[in-house]
Assembly symmetry: C2
Homo-oligomer: 361 residues x 2
DNA sequence: TACGGAAAGATGTATTTACAAAACCATATT
DNA sequence: AATATGGTTTTGTAAATACATCTTTCCGTA
């Protein structure tokens, strides 16, 4: 028994409150009484009381006495908090991902602190700083503009120094050494493009996000498939866009887009959101899908089934991914200083109605 | 000057770290050195250091020394945290509401802690308890099963006792005296029903949620309109359902539903989600909307425009409501003990294609 | 009955002393 | 060169004492 006296008094005090059924705002024993009960000095009692005060079990009022605080505070100690930082959470596939995260964290009795960056690195910095200052026990982050140089390296280094567990999802910064949970974006780009070739398409163009590692990887898969099928893609077969301008490209790149659509029989879209917008663009310009041109998306979002031509796309594990991210973080929290390996989901093609097939086998 | 010595040392220590440009993990002065510098006893120095440790400015290692902690912790004090408890957040109109809340809180530098109850009072209790123990400075709550007796009265009383500001949205418990921000549900029910009468409908039925104050109020508006138009609604013209069974009623109440649809020319639905499901039910049973039967919803959710027959519905301010709730809470946090008045949004009819008009004026 | 003030009792601040336990460092040993 | 060892430094625990400051209570007076 090498326990300290003041810690013994802390435990005794908690038991006492429970045993005597003391309610919030009930009077607790005075320092003098505690001294006599335990036969210790007042300093020792005061140290014990300070602990109980920090744990929110009692509150002390100078000149008046010591009082019991909330019941809730007594029973459960402070639950863990985890920060979740994503680019968005109300649109597209994000609600499902965040639901998955929330579910697992909730089951583990962990509180989720949510913040969104709108894909702005400055907002990401703000969110990270707030979370750190707030004392979160872990972080789940979807990087903003992951393909561009990022001014937040310092912050991630500090997170590393402070041994705060962190898991990325959807994408990771190449220089930040934290585990990632994501879909295999390159394979996804490859799978859809392969499918188009299988359907007999030869002239295939693509539209990809520029500022996003996912965009680069999906483009990589697209390229890989083209090369494997001995098709050379020219610069003009690919349209790059910045995520912030995703809604505007159909205006300012109208000419190039129309040219692309005329010169190809199929288009690989960075994601479903873009694909749905492309469908509308085609409708407005009297281009039949999949009659005149075939369209494929990636992510299997809700909109891919709700739009007028159900989209052929690649399944994104949405909610399962969210659950896996959260579990990964909990693993990291339980085994600190363990590097942790990436979790990459295999893509799975979902065939719907937006691709025309030239073959009849 | 009646300042205490230890507080003076606390301030001096902060200045010292700033002036000497001490970095995280740099060594701070030892207790002995501080004693000599300030000419005080070691206990006094220790009390000062304890304060700095609580404020996360330094950390102490027995046998080694005192060290400076993160810069982030020094600069900005701990930001405020607010708990947001809603029934869902990934479906229906909730993403927009939560986005509105998040936006305002974020602008105010407040961190949002999110928890969902899935409309289960037990999960609500769990969430509330966690939030309180977590020391949130405010709460935004959407009640679960607001029309049924609720076992969480004690918790809300405790929140009141601890003077934690709280704002309800969408609905409030009649016995809990906190401000509410919501749409005028009764008026919403009245507005759609009035519109159906205006279009020449006479036999109107309704489907409403049973366990939810919003359901009761919307039904109230429906009734009010019927009475004003001298139409007596019979028991069999109204179908009640429990929120948990919203997807199943089309199976187990199939007969009653079909009967209702045959006997009436229009149906008032509790909300858009239900209305969309009813549209599908009609399609599956070869009932034309709005040819055979007209359907109206409430809430103006995204699905009301995406489904095959765009829904006539009542606009719910979604995001604006979310923003208003958050601002209301911030008001409450700034002026404690101010009762705070409810904010009720007027409903606004959105006419689309799901109602047939018999009049030709 | 209402008010004021003194007394009692509570927690807060400060000093001094002593020993305990962990970390650190330089020297000596293997 | 690696390992032990012991002394030094540093923070942690504990006690005894004194006074400060605030609250509550109670009693006497107007």
């Amino acid at each position: 028994m090498e326990e300290y006296k003041y810690l013994a008094i802390v435990e005794w005090g908690k038991d006492y409150i429970a045993k005597e059924h003391l309610q919030p705002n009930d009077r607790f024993l005075s320092e003098k009484e505690l001294c006599e009960i335990h036969g210790v000095s007042r300093q020792t009692v005061r140290q014990a009381l300070k602990c109980l005060e920090n744990e929110n079990v009692i509150s002390r009022v100078r000149g008046s006495g010591t009082y019991v605080k909330s019941v809730a505070a007594q029973v459960s100690e402070q639950p863990k908090r985890v920060g979740v930082i994503s680019t968005y959470f109300s649109d597209y596939i994000f609600p499902q991902i965040v639901t998955g995260i929330e579910r697992v964290l909730n089951d583990a009795g962990i509180v989720m602190q949510l913040s969104t960056t709108h894909n702005q690195v400055y907002e990401e910095a703000q969110a990270l700083r707030t979370m750190i200052a707030n004392g979160v026990q872990g972080l789940i982050v979807e990087p903003s503009k992951s393909a561009l140089p990022n001014p937040n390296m310092e912050l991630y280094r500090e997170i590393r120094d402070q041994h705060i567990p962190l898991v990325f999802f959807n994408a990771k910064y190449p220089w930040a050494d934290f585990p990632l949970v994501a879909m295999d974006d390159e394979a996804a780009g490859e799978v859809v493009t392969n499918y188009l070739f299988d359907c007999g398409h030869q002239r295939i163009s693509g539209i990809f996000a520029l500022d996003d590692i996912q965009g680069h990887k999906r483009y990589g898969g697209f390229m890989k498939s083209c090369i494997a099928h001995n098709v050379r893609t020219a610069e003009k077969d690919v349209l790059w866009f910045a995520t912030a301008e995703k809604s505007y490209i159909f205006k300012y790149a109208r000419t190039k887009l129309l040219e692309m659509l005329v010169n190809s029989t199929a288009v690989v879209c960075y994601n479903d959101e873009l694909a749905v917008n492309l469908l509308r663009f085609c409708r407005e310009n009297d281009i039949k899908v999949p009659g005149d041109v075939s369209v494929v998306g990636i992510d299997d979002s809700k909109f891919s089934t709700l739009c007028d031509v159900p989209l052929t796309t690649v399944h994104h594990p949405h909610r399962v991914l969210g659950e896996r991210v959260a579990r990964k973080l909990i693993e990291q929290m339980n085994t600190p200083d363990d590097a942790g390996e990436d979790v990459i989901f295999r893509p799975e093609l979902i065939v719907r109605d937006s691709v025309k097939s030239f073959d009849r086998r």
